[in-house]
């Protein structure tokens, strides 16, 4: 099976190992991840202002690339890109007025109405492959290893983009179990990591 995938800046640079290991693991599970061509920045953070449409252009253009390449679904690995792309997609799907404005503004592009589905890698593992298949294909079980699952914000909030239950997610716990390790109870599993605040607020950074 082939799935189109959006990498984003960090997977091509500082987190190249994440991209390499994911492509190799997915190949072993029978899925060929095909990078979409001509992708651009996802916008990094979703614009929360109602009157700010210019910052929706970048993620919407990426979704147009997916639609052009006749792919119904795009897999995202980076959780920030996932959040931004999925929210921009919902905006295009649900807000007729803003959709019209954005489509008119990008008159060089084909019209986009939120046709593409944005999914995170963890959802593909759970819904398309399944924990059982992962367990069955396991070569080296992670025996006697205790792992703390960490979700953070962008995979779970807001509710409409959440890949699991907002307050009590279990998807990572399930993956850890499928890999033969033991997920431990981690009280900070859904707490904020500080994200971009590490750049501008060093004082706050220490406690995240």
């Amino acid at each position: 099976m082939e799935l189109s995938y959006y990498p984003g800046c960090t997977l091509k640079t500082r987190a190249k190992n994440f991209e390499d290991s994911t492509i190799a693991s997915m190949a072993a599970l029978g899925i060929n991840l095909k990078e979409i061509s001509r992708w651009n920045c996802c916008g990094a953070v979703y614009s929360l202002a109602d009157d700010d449409l210019i910052h929706q252009l970048a993620p919407v253009r990426d979704l147009i690339r997916v639609k052009e390449q006749e792919q119904g679904k795009v897999v995202v690995l980076c959780s920030l890109c996932f959040n931004t792309l999925k929210r921009a997609n919902l905006l295009m799907r649900n807000d007729a007025e803003k959709r019209k404005t954005l489509n008119t503004f990008m008159d060089e592009e084909i019209d986009y109405n939120g046709e593409v589905e944005v999914v995170h890698l963890l959802e593909v593992l759970r819904d398309d492959i399944g924990w059982k298949t992962i367990s069955d294909k396991l070569k080296v079980p992670l025996k006697n290893l205790k792992l703390a699952p960490y979700y953070g914000c962008t995979l779970l909030r807001p509710r409409e983009v959440a890949i699991d239950q907002v307050e009590r997610p279990t998807i990572l716990h399930q993956l850890i179990q499928a890999l033969g390790a033991e997920p431990i109870d981690f009280p900070f599993a859904t707490k904020c990591c500080g994200s971009f605040q590490v750049v501008g607020n060093q004082a706050a950074e220490r406690s995240y």
Binding site: T10, A15, D51, D52, C153, R157, F196, G200, A203
Partner: protein, 135 residues
């Protein structure tokens, strides 16, 4: 006699501007404090999120301007998903930041980011910081 403190009249210009930008109505807040209780950054804030909303309701703009709270908000949306009144506080904080940023007053100066930080941080964190904290 019933006294309606939370009327549009009592509300300041800033709250109206926030509503224009965010489409969120701070008058819907009844001050339960759920936002402050769950906020992962509240410990570092001089005013917790609930008090920012209260100051907006009362039109006390100077107190908000003096506070660092809006710049510490990470938009993690914990408050937004928990608010029993459905107020999206993250959008309110974003609107307050934008009111300042749109006057070209940056919170982060790119030239002051250290070389060590540039060499170490994931690219997306730097892009997010510039998106959130510069005009």
């Amino acid at each position: 006699m019933r006294v309606g403190v939370l009327s549009e009249k009592a509300c300041g210009d800033l709250a109206k501007k926030v509503k224009e930008i965010s489409k969120e109505d701070v008058l819907s807040c009844y001050q339960c404090g759920m936002c402050s209780a769950g906020c992962p950054v509240a410990f570092a804030m001089d005013l917790p999120p609930r008090q920012i909303i209260r100051l907006l309701q009362l039109g006390l703009e100077e107190d908000i301007a003096k506070s660092k709270t809006i710049w510490l908000c990470t938009s993690c949306l914990t408050c937004s998903v928990r608010c029993p009144r459905g107020l999206d506080l993250a959008k309110v904080m974003e609107a307050l930041r934008l009111i300042s940023l749109r006057k070209n007053i940056d919170y982060v100066r790119p030239a002051e980011i250290s070389r060590d930080a540039l060499a170490e941080l994931p690219q997306i964190v730097l892009v997010s910081s510039l998106r959130k904290h510069t005009a």
